[in-house]
Structures are given as C-alpha cells and as structure tokens.
Symmetry: C2
C-alpha cells in the first residue's frame, strides 16, 4: 500500500516506536506516579523523558508545562475552554478544523463571542485581518499552523506578534506541523501549543499534548487522582498534575518518546525541505495533467504536508475509493472535518481528494500517485 493519509495519522512508525511500546508493556507495565516501587518509578521516568524530549523539541523551558492528552482535540478543548468564559471574545480563522470550531460553537451557548476571520480563496490569511478583529474583550486567538485541507501555512510569527502586542493569549493548533515544521514557542509568542503525538511526531495513536505558558491561567477540563496531594479532595494547582488526572497512556508516551528520538536524528531543516521538495515535484507533475484542480497556495514555501485536489467534476469519495481499490493508494476523499475551510475553498459540497505524504514517503510513491491521477483524469 502507498500510504498517503499521514494528515490523519502517520504510518508506518519507526520500528523503535513499536519496540518502545512493547518494551514498556512487557518489562515495565506499572502505573507512573502512583506507587513507589521500582517499576512505577521506571514508568514515571519514561513519562518524564518524553516530556523533556517534547520540551526540547519546541524550545519550551519547563517540561512540566507540557500536559499529556489523548489527542490534539482534547488539547484544543482544554486550551479553549480553560481560558474562555462568558463575555469573552475569541478570534479564529475560516481555515480551522472542527476541533477548534466545534468547541467555540459550543461556547457560544454560554455567552462566548467568536469572530471567524476570512481567508482568501486559497485559504491564506492576512494577519492584519486578525488585528482588525480585536475588540476590548478579546481574550484568545486560535489558529492552525497549517491547514489540514490545503497544507497552507499560517503566518504564526506575525499573529504571535499581534497577540503579544495586544496582550491576548495565542493558541496554535500544530496538528499538521508538529514534527515537520520547526516550532519555537518563545520565538513565535505562542502561549499554548496543541499537538498530536501520532502524526508527524511519529508516536502511537492515543497521544497528544498541550503546552501552557507560565504567563497564563488555564482551568482544567477534568479532576481526579493525580498521585499527588493524595490527602486532599481538591485538585492540585501545580503542573502537570492539575491537568493530568487519571492513568496516562504510558505505552503510547513511551512510543512517542521513541518517535521524537527518531526525528532528532535528522535536522529540522531536512524534514521540512524533504517534504516540500516531494510536494513541489508532486505539484509540478499535477500541473501537466489536464482537469486537475489543486487547492491551497501555489508557492511551495507556503504549504506543507497536504496536496488536495479534484479531478474534473468527479466525486472526491469515488476517486479516493478507486485509488484505494485499484491502485492501492490510501488517501482521504470528501470533507476533512473542516467545513469552514471547505466553504473558503468552495469545496463544501464535494470535498477534495487529499494526498498527505509523510516522512517515509518516497519519490516513487509520488510517481505512483501521479500515474494513477493521470489515468483517472484521462477517463
């Protein structure tokens, strides 16, 4: 199979990720941070090690400000609901995933106000439109780092500057970039960074995280046992315990650590360069095939990870299905859980066929995709 669905979850994972999961399950197995026996301490050290790797990866000073979650959606819910209260105003864009839009929509019912800043027909954002949307009660700006529909990269450095200037919290959804595009939370003035463990950080599904800056106050989404302050019926207020109630996904976190270790063996610049070179080649080939509509920005420097197309006026689900059945190419058709983005691009009715390469994608895989698309476009 040619796996071009890395925007949903990365596959394959490095073998070291499998080994780390299995090693934990077979030889450690205990619950971190609960009991004091040596296996529980080993489990705790694994969690700490992955936390430190993530901190290092995103230039975060304090590893304890990274909260493990089950996925980016939980991270975003925690970041959004932990900050916004009735009467607050939030700004987001018309290219966001439903993991941002649906929590905001829900919060409208308790009196939170939202402005959705429109992106252009390629899904690109003018950061000045964010600044223009700021009001006296604006508390939070949330943007994706790169669209899961077009791969278009958002100007997060500019938005971070604007947020900082106005004293507004900036939450970045790095679902499509963490592991490929270098992220420095301080350089970009990111107050909260939501990221998946199971996409380009190469960890197992069931992992994700949220970085919370020391400058902001965020309420927890859940309370419960934390293995700390066990004599108290109140949630501890220190990090990460405040936000990490209940047993963690320790095998997943062990695997995530191995995924990040794998990435550390390559330079940041190598990963984004490799992906963009592959995609440039892909787009170049597609431009020679008649009847292909490519969505998103044209300049390769402005995009990463996703090539969304349509072929003539054919149904995207049907094309994705033929790619799977006849060509053994795994893509995603229809809508990609981002209705606002599809409306922006004019694809709300038909969706797109999304090819999302990963770190193990080769130029031969791209050639096979191009060949299949060429066949289908000819029909």
């Amino acid at each position: 199979m040619i796996y071009m669905d890395n925007a949903a979850t990365s596959w394959p994972k490095p073998l070291s990720v499998h080994r780390a999961v299995l090693e934990y399950m077979e030889n450690i197995g205990a619950n971190p941070g609960r009991s004091g026996h040596h296996k529980a301490i080993e489990a705790g050290n694994i969690v700490l090690h992955t936390r430190e790797l993530i901190a290092n990866f995103f230039s975060i000073d304090d590893p304890f400000r990274i909260i493990f979650t089950s996925n980016t959606t939980e991270s975003l819910n925690l970041g959004i609901k932990g900050v916004l209260e009735s009467g607050d105003h939030a700004i987001t864009t018309s290219m966001e995933h439903n993991s941002v839009v649906r929590p905001l929509k829900h919060l409208e019912s308790i009196g939170v106000e939202t402005t959705i800043v429109k992106c252009d027909a390629d899904g690109m954002l003018d950061p000045l439109h964010i600044e223009k949307a700021i009001k006296s009660n604006t508390k939070l700006i949330i943007t994706t780092h790169a669209s899961n529909v077009t791969g278009g990269i958002m100007p997060i450095a500019d938005i971070g500057e604007i947020a900082k200037k106005h004293g507004i919290i900036y939450l970045v959804d790095a679902a499509q970039t963490a592991g490929i595009v270098p992220i420095d939370v301080n350089k970009y003035n990111i107050d909260m960074l939501a990221f998946p463990g199971h996409k380009s950080l190469l960890g197992p599904q069931g992992t994700g995280g949220l970085y919370i800056s020391p400058d902001i106050e965020v309420s927890q989404l859940k309370e419960g046992g934390t293995g700390s302050m066990s004599q108290s019926i109140c949630q501890p207020n220190f990090l990460p315990d405040r936000y990490e109630s209940g047993t963690l996904n320790t095998p997943g976190i062990a695997g995530l650590g191995a995924g990040i270790e794998f990435l550390r063996q390559t330079e940041d610049i190598y990963r984004i360069d490799k992906m963009q070179k592959l995609e440039e080649y892909f787009i170049g080939c597609l431009s020679k095939i008649e009847g292909i509509t490519l969505y998103g920005p044209k300049d390769i420097k402005n995009r990463i990870g996703v090539i969304s197309i349509n072929i003539g006026d054919r149904d995207s689900a049907e094309i994705a299905n033929i790619l799977d059945k006849k060509y053994n190419i795994a893509t995603r058709g229809e809508l990609h859980c981002s209705p606002l983005a599809h409306r922006t691009l004019g694809t709300l009715n038909r969706g797109t066929v999304r090819f999302s390469p990963g770190i193990f994608t080769t130029i031969f895989d791209i050639d096979a995709c191009v060949k299949a698309i060429y066949d289908l476009a000819k029909q």
Copy 2:
C-alpha cells in the same frame, strides 16, 4: 518481581494483548472512521469489535452507547459533569476515589450540592443511608463498585433499586471490578458505568470507557472532529460520535479487545472465585501474624482485589519501600488517592500498604508476601 499493584494497573497482560497492539501498529495503523480506504476501515472494525466485546461483557444492548475514553477518570468526569448543573444535588459515599470526589468538589463552585454518605469503620455502606440522603433536587448517585483502599464491595444492586425507584441517575465506578466481578447494567439498574481498560480487563494503559443508558441525557466534555457530519460546525448528537472527538487510542483499543477475549475464555464465576480464594488464604495467613491491622470487611464475600494492611505503627511508605527493595514485591504505600476513604478507615495520616493481586497472581506469590510481612512484623 511479585507484582501486587494490580489495583493501579494490571501486569503482566496476556501476550495476545501485546500482539494485538503490535499487529495494529505494524499492519493497519490507519485512523478509524476518518478516511474510507481499506486500512481505515480495518481500523474502524477493530474499534467496533472491541466495543461489541465490551457491550457483551456488561450485558449492554447497544454497543454504540459505550464511549471510549482515555481512563476511568475521564469517564467519571464525563458522567458527572455531563449530568450535573447548578442547583442539582448529588449523593456519593465516604469511600470514593478522588476521581469522583474532586470533580464533585469542583462542581460545588458552580452551585452543585453534594452529600457524602458515611460508611462504617470497615468502609461498608448501608444502602438505606443513600435513600435517606435523597432530596427533591437529587439528580445523581455515584458509588464505587469496590473500594480501591479496602476492596470492600458496595451493594450496587440495592443502590440501583433505590435510584430507579426515585428516578435518579446511578453512575457506578467500576475501576476495581470491571473484569473480575460480573456486571450487568440492566440487572443492577446502572445508568452509567465508568470502567478502565487497563486494569482487570487486561488492556493497555490509555484505555477506558463509559456506558451511557438510552434513558438519560449527558452533555459532552469535548467537541471536535468525529469523522461524521463533516459539513457541520456543530457536534453530532448521536452516539458514540457525540462523545468521541479526535483520534482514538486505536492500538490501545485493539489491545483491550484482546484482553477481553482472554477473559471470555474463563467463566465470570471463575475469576471472582479465584481472586476471593487467594485473598481468603492471604487474610487467613495474616490473621496469624501479630501486629497486623487489616482494613475493610472481614467477610471475604464482601471484598475483592485489595488487601490493605499496616504493620504495628510502622510507616506504610517505609514498609512498601522495603517490600520493593528487599523482597522484590511491588505494592503501594501511603494514601491511594482516596482521602475520604482513609478518613473513614482512620488511616488519613499513615495510609496503608496495599497488596492488589491480579488474574495471574499465584498462591506462591501470596506465600512470598506473607513471608515478607511476617519478617517485617517480627522486627
């Protein structure tokens, strides 16, 4: 190592659990319910299969009423916060874990009222005390099925009857029983059942679930992408999608399915009988050692899974530490994230040394524990 910390998480897991996790990661890997390619469909089928196994295990009619969560704590937060609103009254007991007590404590700040029904000095509950605590605004009763500090089994059938009679929602925390003690949600009038995947159901850490009866309305804790109704910015209101936003822990769920398959090969009656026989033997041996305080009910029929003791007036953490270092026995000392339970038992200051056997514990393991306790009690 003699692992007597199964109340925190079970270990070892059956080899089939490791194999299921690895098989998923190596050969499937896709995101269930998102894309339509054959690997995504295989992933979806794995999730469905585990959902069906769980439904069958707890006599739940509709598998789609089982929500996958990351742990019991998330399940309990969802069940508690999804039901209680300002002005509502909830009843719970003095033997609950902080995963019940801390969310309730938090909800007090938004106007939810809580009554904590006192258990006796052995941690046992008279169900009539629950009935006496019912008020006109009582909306929810929450009790554990068995205490994580004493192993004392709560009279859930009686409480379920009372809840049904008064039209009150009953949420059972099965953290310590799911997989050992048979649970039938209909027979016991359980409206919500919160359970871990990683304890006696033998799945990996990072798994858990909540059953929600069709008769009740529960708000979701998180919104986001569900792979369904992708054209809408509103959360779908059908199950399980309403409560399962974001990528699931598919490798964990695959492993959980294998864990339950393993349990299905033994009769329900075998598991509870085996555990109670081991514990009866353990308690019998302990009764012959001078200076041992055993907590919880004396009748073996009223307890499961946990043997909590203290030795003379020695520190429980010190004893647990010696058991680990000198005898290679993994237990948990101090408090067990259940301060109310420790207050009930009179162990809030010193905690207890908790031995929690599992399905793979043998009588030889118990003998080794007894020998070590005997040595320590002699000193």
